[in-house]
Amino acid sequence: MSVLEIIVFTVVKIVLILTVMLLMVSYLVYFERRVSAWVQNRLGPNRVGWEGVLQPFADVFKLLLKEDIVPVKANQFIHTLAPVIALFVAFATYAVIPIASPLKIFGYEIPLVVADVNIGVLYVLALTSVGVYAITLAGWSSGSKYSLFGGIRSSAQMISYEISMGFSVAGVLLFAESLRPIAIVQSQGSWMWNAWIQPIGFITFVVSAFAETNRLPFDLPEAEPELVGGYHTEYSSMKFAAFFLAEYANMIIAAGMIVTLYLGGYNLPFFNIESLGLANWLTVIIQIGSFFIKMGVLLFFFLWIRWSLPRFRYDQLMSIGWKVMFPLSLINLIWVAVLIMVFNL
């Protein structure tokens, strides 16, 4: 492939991924509202369009038309920059998550991932740590105590859980012997999911992912009863929407990462699709379907947890992070190392 072709394909993939992500994010919000309503035995949004399917667009228009208010005591520049960072990080992370095996079309072989980086997993971790800045800066620049507390809580929480996240990922990397997401997916084959091999690591990763995305039961940065809205208390209009979208985009990325690292990625469970000898495009479509179904199930799990568990206290959050999750992820690492030693994997 020439340089020009690579650029064209990459741009097409970026545009596609962005569109799909934006649609998924807005429908995830709708999905969340409907699932919450279902859990609480009410109806949820069902007025705009059939069963409320146009609700996300109505929400976006409402936010677009609202007045953008910046508090007098806020730092104008950083106050505007923070939501931009949040959105940028949320969407840039998606570049390394593979959604299917390469598509062969018109004589080209196109990998279905925007950037096949050979240190993709580290790239995700690095961008997650950049995401902390959005929240910290938003909290600080608003010039309000609620925002500030939200921001500080959030950065402390995200730093603490990044450690157990990193150690659980290390277990996966030991097995895959690679930092490339595609290699990790392939190393799991169709049934040797990392979730079976290293269940402890799977649990610590999922818990850390909840904490990193600030979802309940770890949503202390925006705990409504204590902090009004946390770091985005002073945000309105599209800036608020940016944070809102970033939060849901982060959920989707967390789900995508869990699927890639622990649930076999785009491969079908217990069944090797490539052994059937189907046409390439059919295989790819089935794999994309399998990836998104796994992701959907995980996202439902996220919402389900939200209405099942109460919020932790801050000291509980910290002690779970440092005294439970961190040692557990270390134990998982040792477990994986022993497995590899014993079975010569």
């Binding site: 005591k73 971790l125 740590s129 500030l148 500080i152 950065s155 730093i159 990044e162 930092l179």
Partner: protein, 162 residues
Amino acid sequence: MTLYDIIFYLFALVTISSAYLVVTVRNIVYSAFSLLFTLFGIAGLYALLGADFVAIVQLIVYVGGILILMIFGVMLTNKITNVQIKTGVFQILPATIGVGIFGGFLLAVLLNTNWLNLNVKDSPATTFQLGQLLMNEWVLPFELLGIVLLIALLGAASIARK
């Protein structure tokens, strides 16, 4: 001028201009924020030098750890609800002269030395190679670093607690 050169000049510009802001802006949070861009620029330079692993470690450790710690330091050592956190400065003139002379000296040394300038080709597997080195030749420094980190962790916790 190739694409590589353009990207280099871009990163160098980002790095140097934001580093200049870091040491001249009076608002501490602005400084910390420009340091973020400096670190990004330097990570970009590493990537250009073919050291992708170092670049990403730079992002994870510096951006995700050290700089956050510093922002915490800023917030915890000031009246944090005050958005305008200023730092005092002193000895600007002597420092400018001194650093100017020193920098000039360094540049003179740099330009008058005949460095080995080979431009080796990129190796595709930096992570693998670094891992090999860390676990074989450099295993003792590696383990010592682990101990240093542990001691630093304990030390920092006990100092901050007092």
